[in-house]
C-alpha cells in the first residue's frame, strides 16, 4: 500500500474519533443533569410519601381532606406520568446513545482493525523495506566491489591503453623507419639493378676477354707442345748416335772419347728432361692440363715406380722400407698425376740420399686423406732455403753439387698439380739428416678437370 494513502486514512480516522469523543462528553453531561433531577425527584417523592402518610392519617380522619388529597394525588399522578414520560424519553435517548456508542465502538474496532492491518502492512512493508534495504546494501556492496573491479579494470585498461599507445608510437616510428629503409632499399635496388646491368655487360666483356685469353693460352700451349716436340727430335737423334758410338757399333773409342761422349749424352738427357719439365710447367701454369680421375690403387702405382728405380736403388745400396697401411682404399685420381707424384718423390729420395742410406715409403689413411710419405736419410734441405724449395727452377746448393742434372722444376710441378687437384704437399727436413715429404690425397678423390693436354711423365 502506498504510504501517502495510509497516512491520509489514519488522519481521517483520528478526526472521526475526536468528533465521537466530543459527542460522548455531551451525552455524559446530560446524563449527569438527569441523574441530579432524578435524585431531587426521589427526595420530592420521599417528602410526598411522608405527606401521603400524614394525609392518609388525616384521611382516616377527614374524607374531605381525602378528596383534596385525591385531587392532589391525581395531580401528582399526572406529574409522575409526565416524569415517566420524560424518563421514558431519556431512556430512549440513552438507548440511542448506547446504540450510537456501540456503533462508534464498532467503528473504533473497525478502525482499530484497519489500523492493525495497516500496522501489519506497514510492518510487512517495513520488513520488505528492510529486506529491500539489505538487498540494496548487498547490491550496493556488490556494486561497490564491481565498481572497484571496474576501476581496477579501468586502471588496467588504462595501463594497457598507455602501453598500446607506446607500442603504437613505436610501431609508427618503426613504420617510418621501414618506410625510410624501404626507400633506401628501393634506391639501393635500382642502383643494384643498374650495377647488375653494368656487371652483366662487364661479365660479357670479361667472358669475351676470357675466351680470347683461353684460346691464347691454348695457342701458347699448342706452341709449347710443338716447340718441345721439335726440340726433342734432334736431341733424340743426338742421343741415338752418341749411344751407338758409346756402344762401339762403329768401332773402338778411347777412354777420353768415351768420357766426353758420356758428358754429351748426359747434357743431352738433361736437355730432354728440361723440355719435358718446361712443357709440364707451361700446362700447369696455364691451367690447361687434364685431370681424368679413375679408381687408382696407390700401392700398385708406388710399387711400379719403385720397380723403375730398382736398378738405381741397388746401385746405391739403399735400404728400402715399404709401409703400406692395410686400409688404403682405391682413390679416384688421375693415374698420370699419381705416377708423377710417386716418381718425383722417390726419384728425389734416391738421388739425394748417399750410398747405403735408408728410404721409407709409406701409405697411411686418416679421416680425410691418404697420406703418402717418403722419408730419406739423405743430404736434407738447409733451413735457410726450405721456404724456396717449391719455387720454380730453385735448386739448393747441396743438391746442385750432388746432382748437376736436376731441373729445379719437379717439386714445383707436383706441388701445383697436387694443389690444383685438392691435395696438399709439405715436408720436414734437416740438413745432413734427411727429409720427409708428405702428400695428402683426399679420400673423396680428385675432381675431373677438362683441359687440352695431359702432363707428360719423364
Amino acid at each position: 500500500m502506498n504510504k501517502k494513502t495510509i497516512a491520509s486514512t489514519t488522519d481521517n480516522t483520528i478526526l472521526k474519533l475526536k468528533v465521537l469523543a466530543k459527542k460522548k462528553e455531551g451525552v455524559r453531561n446530560k446524563l449527569v443533569v438527569t441523574a441530579k433531577q432524578l435524585a431531587i425527584l426521589a427526595k420530592e417523592k420521599e417528602g410526598i410519601r411522608r405527606k401521603l402518610e400524614i394525609t392518609a392519617r388525616k384521611l382516616a380522619t377527614t374524607a374531605e381532606e381525602k378528596e383534596d388529597v385525591r385531587s392532589r394525588l391525581a395531580a401528582t399522578a399526572k406529574k409522575l406520568a409526565v416524569t415517566a414520560k420524560e424518563k421514558e424519553g431519556v431512556r430512549g435517548k440513552l438507548v440511542i446513545t448506547a446504540r450510537q456508542l456501540a456503533v462508534v465502538a464498532e467503528e473504533k474496532e473497525n478502525v482499530r482493525n484497519k489500523l492493525a492491518v495497516t500496522a501489519r502492512k506497514l510492518a510487512t512493508t517495513a520488513e520488505e523495506k528492510e529486506d529491500v534495504r539489505r538487498r540494496l546494501v548487498v547490491t550496493a556492496k556488490n556494486l561497490d566491489s564491481k565498481a572497484k573491479q571496474l576501476a581496477k579494470t579501468a586502471k588496467e585498461k588504462e595501463s594497457v591503453r598507455s602501453k598500446l599507445a607506446v607500442t603504437a608510437e613505436t610501431l609508427r616510428l618503426k613504420a617510418k623507419q621501414l618506410a625510410v629503409t624501404a626507400k633506401e632499399k628501393e634506391e639501393a635496388r635500382s642502383k643494384l639493378a643498374i650495377t647488375a646491368k653494368q656487371l652483366a655487360v662487364t661479365a660479357k666483356e670479361i667472358e669475351l676477354v676470357n675466351n680470347e685469353l683461353r684460346s691464347l693460352d691454348l695457342a701458347k700451349d699448342e706452341f709449347v707442345s710443338i716447340a718441345s716436340h721439335q726440340l726433342r727430335t734432334p736431341l733424340t737423334a743426338l742421343k741415338g748416335y752418341v749411344g751407338m758410338i758409346l756402344d762401339g757399333d762403329v768401332g773402338l773409342i778411347s777412354d777420353k772419347q768415351r768420357e766426353y761422349l758420356t758428358e754429351i749424352k748426359n747434357a743431352n738427357d738433361r736437355m730432354i728432361n728440361l723440355i719435358t719439365a718446361l712443357l709440364n710447367v707451361s700446362r700447369v701454369d696455364l691451367g690447361v692440363f687434364v685431370v681424368e680421375p679413375e679408381q687408382v690403387n696407390l700401392e700398385k702405382v708406388a710399387e711400379s715406380t719403385l720397380k723403375e728405380l730398382e736398378i738405381k736403388i741397388r746401385d746405391k745400396k739403399l735400404i728400402l722400407n715399404v709401409d703400406f697401411g692395410k686400409d688404403i682404399p682405391l682413390i679416384s685420381a688421375d693415374l698420370n698425376i699419381m705416377r708423377m707424384i710417386f716418381q718425383n718423390l722417390l726419384t728425389n729420395a734416391v738421388k739425394y740420399t748417399p750410398i747405403g742410406g735408408n728410404i721409407t715409403l709409406s701409405l697411411k689413411k686418416d679421416n680425410s686423406d691418404v697420406i703418402i710419405s717418403v722419408t730419406d736419410t739423405g743430404y736434407g734441405i738447409p733451413a735457410n732455403v726450405q721456404s724456396k724449395i717449391f719455387t720454380k727452377m730453385f735448386r739448393a746448393d747441396n743438391a746442385r753439387v750432388k746432382d748437376p742434372d736436376g731441373t729445379g722444376l719437379g717439386l714445383y710441378i707436383i706441388k701445383a698439380t697436387i694443389e690444383k687437384t685438392g691435395g696438399r704437399i709439405w715436408f720436414e727436413s734437416e740438413e745432413n739428416k734427411g727429409s720427409t715429404f708428405y702428400v695428402a690425397i683426399p679420400l673423396k678423390g680428385m675432381k675431373k678437370k677438362e683441359g687440352s693436354r695431359r702432363l707428360e711423365l719423364k
Binding site: 716436340h229 727430335t233 751407338m244 757399333d249 730432354i272 695431359r454 707428360e456 711423365l457
Partner: protein
C-alpha cells in the same frame, strides 16, 4: 745354324733418327725396311710382312695412327708386332695406341737404341714361344 734374318720395318719421318735406328738394327743383324709416313709404311708392311714394325706417332700427311688403324684391318696385319714410339708423352696418345693394340709404346728421347733393340728381341722371343 744360321737363324733366318728377321725383317724390321721402321716408319719415321725424321731422317736422322730413321737412319740412326736403322743402322742400329742393321748392326744388330736385322734386315731393315724404311718408310717416312703412315701410307708408305702400310704399303711396305702389307707387301713385305716384316717380323716387327716400329712406327712413329707424329708424321706429316699420314701419321702413326693412320698406319695402326689400317694395318689392323688386314688379315696378316691384325696380328703383326708393332711398337709405337714417340716424343709425345701424352698419355691420351699412349692409351689410344694401347687400345688399338701395340706391343709397347716407348718414349723416343728416353730410350737408348740398344734398349729398343732388346725390346724388339723380347717381343720376337715371346712370339716364338
Amino acid at each position: 745354324m744360321d737363324t733366318p734374318q728377321q725383317k724390321v720395318l721402321i716408319i719415321e719421318d725424321e731422317i736422322s733418327i730413321l737412319n740412326g735406328i736403322s743402322d742400329k738394327f742393321t748392326h744388330e743383324g736385322f734386315f731393315v725396311l724404311k718408310a717416312i709416313n703412315g701410307q708408305e709404311g702400310l704399303d711396305i708392311a702389307l707387301k713385305e710382312h716384316p717380323d716387327f714394325i716400329i712406327v712413329d706417332n707424329l708424321m706429316p700427311n699420314t701419321d702413326g695412327f693412320y698406319f695402326l688403324e689400317n694395318i689392323r684391318k688386314d688379315k696378316w696385319g691384325k696380328d703383326s708386332l708393332i711398337i709405337m714410339w714417340s716424343n709425345s708423352h701424352d698419355s691420351t696418345t699412349i692409351t689410344r695406341a694401347r687400345k688399338i693394340g701395340v706391343f709397347d709404346f716407348i718414349i723416343k728421347s728416353e730410350w737408348e737404341y740398344r734398349d729398343v733393340v732388346n725390346k724388339v728381341r723380347e717381343a720376337l722371343g715371346e712370339k716364338k714361344f
